[in-house]
């Protein structure tokens, strides 16, 4: 009978080895961390890369990052939850970001947001149950000259109205 208990450390190492072997995104992340020479001040850069690769920051990614940078998991979790840009929940297939900067707001961005929320039956920051659409808001994307602006799947679209926004959203979610 095997009486020697595995220490948490070796258990974690085994888990990471398994992840590295089974998921090539971890390999890419590892290479990125090496590029920064495992420097602890590169944490935010590493999390950016991780989110780009995985779409969101799952628990394993956070633990792996912590181990690679020799940081406590609490520090990594603290940073990941502090910044708005990082998300710990999976995102929908498509995303729609309504800019709520001052210029967009005075030109009716709130009405666009309300229309999309009503149509998709979700609030800003949520994803539809069928995982088709994530609705987000931005503080200001700096496109004030073409306000109100909405970003659909990364494409900034100028001078939006409730109608144009709904037309776009309806391609993604069943009304």
């Amino acid at each position: 009978m095997n009486t020697v208990l595995e220490s948490p450390k070796t258990k974690a190492a085994a888990r990471f080895a398994q992840l590295l072997a089974s998921d090539k995104r971890y390999k890419i992340l590892e290479a990125h961390i090496k590029k920064f020479q495992h420097r602890q001040d590169a944490l935010i850069e590493v999390l950016h890369k991780a989110q780009e690769l995985f779409g969101y920051l799952e628990d394993d990614v956070l633990r792996y990052t912590a181990a690679q940078l020799k940081l406590p998991a609490s520090r990594v979790y603290g940073v990941a939850t502090f910044y708005h840009f990082f998300t710990l929940k999976p995102q929908g297939e498509h995303n729609c970001v309504v800019c709520m900067g001052t210029a967009c707001y005075v030109k009716g961005a709130d009405k666009i947001l309300a229309a999309v929320e009503a149509q998709a039956h979700i609030k800003a920051g949520e994803t539809t149950p069928d995982n088709k659409l994530s609705l987000l808001t931005a503080r200001c994307i700096g496109a004030c000259g073409i306000a109100p602006a909405v970003v659909y799947d990364g494409t900034v679209t100028p001078r939006q109205t409730s109608e144009t926004a709904l037309a776009q959203i309806n391609q993604w979610v069943a009304p």
């Binding site: 590169a42 935010i44 950016h48 502090f82 708005h84 210029a103 707001y105 503080r139 000259g145």
Partner: protein
């Protein structure tokens, strides 16, 4: 790279210039309106007309009139085409040969353009931001050569002090004084940071400068590094600006390749490296101590000052932090002379200021005017007033830390002191125009919600105070508040302003205070009678 190489590059670049240049705006605003398609079709149309030897199609940075994009301007005829679609390309080429075409045009001689005095934006819309040769042809990196080869660090410092340049990030701290403090601080390792975390909603000046003229920022930073004795720089840019980040990365690569960045700049023993740090969406990171925490890979929370970053900053080393626009002013000051710069602007505020004009106004876009220009000139003459015959009610400056300036004060000259007197601030340069359909209490609530969400949670006055103030404003807008609530709101404003740790908290009540000051009637209209007020004694018959 030597001065000779620099001049050779310039001569070569100028010699390859063609007679006619079609400049296509490739900044974020126009790109989102398919400027890329326009440029591609123009290139194709030029080839089809067989004009490759005469006409150059050049992608350039921001051409300022963002609301009319995509923009294309022809040199030397100066015709400015607006709202161009890819289908317009053949017509534009035909117009070059004198053909008449039904194309929408803007007047390049309108006050929007003629009242501008470009220093920071001098290259915007003219040079190709993706080619270092284009910047060198516009006398780029000449100032760096002069600084490193012909001047001592002390002389560079003196020049910046004498120019009277003040920080363009909002507070207006004298730049020379800041540089001097960093230079004097003991320490073998020092850092230079460029604050490109333009978080104020409604501000896009820094984005435009980074996208249109990235080398100007690099040049300013290297000169700063030489003056204060630093060899490492960071540009902290927000993640919401992907185009700016990619142009900066490209610019850094090019500058390194030709020896204008990295080791042995201009074959001198001077080294300077620049790395980009990408923000992750936290407004508070515009505050310098929070920004440094973020560069170190930590949560972006501010810390008490002193010690100031100039003494103990990034990784506990003396650190110089300046805004994008401040760095963009450095090279022109050295190149064109201190006296020239000091001759522009007012007595206490020298030079120019870039504003992002947006909101309920005809011409939205970027403007650069001498300090001291009256607000009225900016909004009415250059901006063209409110659209659809509306009436301008107020101008909001300084973002969530600023205030609203009512229409009756439009003759105020724009400089640091005058705006502070009106309860607003210069801020980084966002200028949102509001017309008579805008409800001021709602504006105050909008900004308070912003500050509430963006409070980092470190100090209680800001963390709890903004929530309570927001609650009171919502109550007011729902017509459920009474005079006692309003009194409590004012009391809270005072408390949060005076006891918060950092600038975000200290200035968060400003939008409420300034709207209360000038639009108190709008607050009072919403008030309900106080049910607990002492009953009025009925007059005896």
């Amino acid at each position: 790279m030597t001065l000779n190489d620099l001049q050779e590059t310039k001569a070569k670049e100028l010699a390859t210039r063609k007679k006619i240049v079609l400049r296509c705006c490739m900044a974020a605003g126009c790109v989102s309106s398919d400027a890329k398609g326009v440029k591609d079709q123009l290139v194709k149309a030029v080839a089809e007309a067989g004009l490759q030897d005469e006409v150059e199609v050049r992608g350039v940075g921001c051409m300022k009139l963002c609301c009319e994009g995509p923009l294309v301007q022809a040199d030397p005829s100066n015709a400015l085409y607006i709202k161009v679609t890819p289908d317009n390309a053949p017509a534009i080429i035909a117009a070059l040969k004198g053909g008449k075409a039904a194309l929408q045009q803007a007047d390049p001689n309108s006050p929007f353009f003629t009242k501008q005095e470009p220093i920071v934006l001098a290259n915007c819309g003219l040079i190709d931001p993706e080619r270092i040769e284009s910047y060198i042809a516009a006398d780029g990196y000449l100032a760096l050569h002069e600084a490193i080869v012909e001047m001592e660090p002390k002389d560079v410092l003196d020049a910046i002090v004498k120019s009277g340049l003040r920080g363009r990030g909002g507070a207006g701290f004298p730049t020379g004084l800041k540089w001097g403090t960093v230079a004097k601080s003991p320490g073998a390792k020092k850092y230079v940071i460029c604050n490109a975390d333009e978080g104020d909603p409604g501000a896009f000046m820094d984005r435009s400068v980074l996208e249109s003229d990235p080398h100007a920022i690099l040049e300013g930073m290297v000169i700063a590094g030489y003056a204060v004795g630093a060899d490492q720089g960071y540009i902290y840019c927000r993640a919401e600006y992907p185009l700016a980040i990619s142009r900066l990365q490209n610019a850094i690569r090019q500058a390194k390749r030709v020896g204008l960045l990295g080791a042995g700049i201009f074959e001198s023993p001077i080294n300077f490296n620049i790395d980009i740090r990408i923000g992750a969406g936290a407004f508070v990171c515009g505050e310098e101590t929070a920004l440094m925490a973020s560069v170190e890979g930590k949560r972006g929370t501010p810390r008490p000052r002193p010690p100031f970053p100039a003494e103990r900053g990034l990784f506990d080393c003396p650190t110089l932090i300046n805004n994008v626009e401040t760095f963009a002013n450095v090279a022109p000051i050295l190149r064109r002379g201190v006296d020239w710069f000091a001759g522009i602007g007012t007595e206490k505020s020298k030079g120019t200021k870039v504003f992002a004009l947006a909101g309920k106004i005809q011409n939205t876009g970027l403007i650069e005017v001498p300090m001291g220009t009256p607000l009225r000139t900016i909004v009415e003459e250059m901006g063209g007033g409110a659209p659809d015959g509306g009436k301008i009610k107020a101008v909001q400056t300084g973002g969530p830390s600023g205030g609203c300036i009512p229409a009756q004060h439009l003759d105020t000259p724009v400089d640091y002191e005058s705006l502070t007197q009106l309860g607003s601030i210069m801020g980084s340069g966002g200028m949102i125009v509001m017309d008579d359909t805008t409800r001021m209490v709602d504006v105050a609530r909008f900004f308070m919600e912003f500050c509430m969400d963006e409070s980092c949670g470190k100090c209680i006055p800001c963390r709890a105070g903004t929530v309570q103030m927001h609650h009171l404003l919502v109550k007011l807008l729902a017509r459920e508040a009474n005079a006692r609530d309003l009194a409590q709101l004012e009391e809270l404003c005072d408390m949060v302003k005076n006891t918060s740790l950092c600038g975000l908290g200290q200035t968060s009540p400003n939008p409420v205070l300034s709207t209360l000051r000038f639009f108190r009637d709008e607050y009072e209209e919403l008030l309900q009678p106080d049910p607990h007020a002492a009953p009025q004694l009925a007059a005896k018959p």
